[in-house]
């Protein structure tokens, strides 16, 4: 289990031989893309137009959330003393994970924003299990998401089931992941190598200097993975056959897995996914609930972020535990509520 964090900007190599001119080729490539976009009329090709618009919209919505998360992360690094988290670490272990899950209620941004914050919390001394629990719970249990779920299901018999079920199941699944991470990972695995911003720090640097240094570092680091994830999500949205899920709607377990699969490939923001989930009228409430709990914890763009920020093994751990816990929870709800 490797929950290490990676460096944001790897240390520059010592100058040897001829200077690296890769940046020049990258610049020329970008200019060629811009020229092609103007001359070749890619928007005239329907599938490419759909792909490019969805790709752009995913990023234009998600990047400000990442930016908010990066700003909060930088503020935690610079303005919150490590001793604050040391006090939390003295809490009984049994209380740390539930407390972290509940703390997610105080962070009203979607899933992309919680990743840099959780990463920073772990680096500041919060246990990896608690940091991961916070990261997974916050996009589901915060007030904005609860309100959007309430509105999306207004006028339906299942409204309170969806709102309450999403909140409680979200908390439980996040805590399950936290417990698994705590059980199989050494306590310091989330405190990986120092970032370049941290390496740059010196005793004479001002807080403002350090804040902006961390802000830019986190933005750069997270953006790359988010862009790759958004590109994959947009491609899947463009090409996946429209009949992929409907045929499974009436099958007990497969309908839940189908909705989780849809949540994974659609990569919707947790603040809007309830409106889409509510439109899957062919699926029962437990399958819609699976969509609402699974999606904010694991989707295409998050997968890229997790792999980039932590490790592949971390991603697979989250995927397996979230899938299992969501499936079991939703099956129980299906048994109880029909």
């Amino acid at each position: 289990m490797a929950l290490r964090t990676r460096t944001q900007e790897p240390p520059a190599p010592t100058p040897t031989g001829a200077p690296d001119r890769t940046w020049l080729w990258v610049l020329l490539g970008l200019l060629a893309v811009a020229l092609a976009a103007r001359v070749l009329d890619p928007m005239g090709i329907p599938w490419l137009r759909s792909l490019l618009i969805v790709f752009g919209s995913l990023l234009i919505e998600a990047m400000p959330f990442v930016a908010i998360g990066a700003a909060v992360s930088a503020a935690i690094e610079v303005f919150v003393p490590a001793s604050s988290f040391a006090k939390i670490a003295t809490l009984p272990k049994a209380a740390q994970i539930p407390a972290a899950a509940i703390a997610g209620m105080a962070f009203p941004v979607c899933e992309c924003g919680s990743v840099p914050v959780a990463r920073r919390l772990a680096r500041k001394g919060l246990s990896p299990a608690a940091a991961v629990t916070f990261m997974l719970a916050a996009p589901i249990v915060n007030p904005v998401v609860i309100a959007s779920t309430y509105v999306a299901y207004r006028g339906r018999d299942t409204q309170m089931l969806m709102v309450g079920g999403r909140f409680l199941l979200g908390l439980i699944v996040a805590m399950c992941v936290g417990w698994v991470v705590g059980a199989i990972a050494p306590g310091d695995l989330l405190r990986g190598a120092a970032t370049q911003a941290e390496e740059e720090e010196g005793p004479a640097e001002t807080r403002a200097h350090r804040f902006f240094s961390h802000l830019s570092g986190d933005l750069l680091f997270m953006s790359r993975f988010l862009i790759l994830g958004a590109l994959i999500a947009a491609t899947i949205q463009t090409f996946v056959p429209a009949t992929v899920a409907n045929s499974l709607a009436s099958l007990p377990v497969l309908s839940l897995l189908a909705m989780m699969f849809l949540a994974f490939i659609l990569s919707l923001c947790s603040e809007s996914d309830a409106f889409v989930a509510a439109s899957f009228t062919a699926f029962g409430p437990s399958a819609q609930l699976a969509f609402l709990v699974f999606g904010p914890m694991v989707d295409t763009k998050l997968a890229a972020l997790y792999v980039g920020t932590y490790s592949r093994r971390f991603f697979w751990t989250v995927l397996i535990v979230v899938t299992t816990a969501t499936l079991v929870g939703c099956l129980w709800i299906e048994v109880i509520w029909g």
Partner: protein, 241 residues
Amino acid sequence: MSAVAAQATLRWSPTRIATAVALGLWAAMFWVLFATGRTYLYLSTRTSWLVPVGAIIFTAGALGRLATARTERHEPVDRHNAWGLGLMALPVVLVMALPPATLGAYTVQKRATFAGSAIGATARDVTGPLDFVDIGAAQSFPAAMDQLRARAGETITLEGFVTKEASAPPDEILLTRYIVTCCVADATIAQVRVVGLPPGDYTNDEWLQVTGNVYPVGREVLVAASGATQIPVPDQPYLTP
């Protein structure tokens, strides 16, 4: 004296300047979207506030990186950083270089199963002036459809784009509008079947303003057209529930 000596050894870091430029490109894109109103090609009115927020934070990040770009270390832009920064700049280049465009008829077919069977909007009272969100609500909620049925025959004016069916007669089209809650990725559709159109060559993705009488039939909503006018793409092509 030592401070002066240390100051003298500081030099601009190409890596940090390049990072500042990449962040600055994102900031510039958000400012342009904000200033030109192109925000609504990507986001709903509910989430449009994200654009100025992104512009401010990315501007701060770029300026902050620039302010800390002088260092004693040798930091050339190595291959890894060059590709990473290029990847980061790529979406900005695409968004800024591509002409403004909206989702069209091609995506309607893809969305139909995902989310097009009903818009999942709030249970609206379909009692005011009718629009596409009411149509979608009626197709989602039986109570809203009952209210719409009670208003059968009323005159309605809708703006949307043409979605042609291969088997449809020449005076019949589907008029479609996307409904977006947060961003275009969550777009769902509301659709009416327009019949009795004036003769013309209606093509996919063409925007029309259609006036006619509305008639709910089963889960479908028909509009018996009394007039249709070609219109440009609206400034806000997507509706927000």
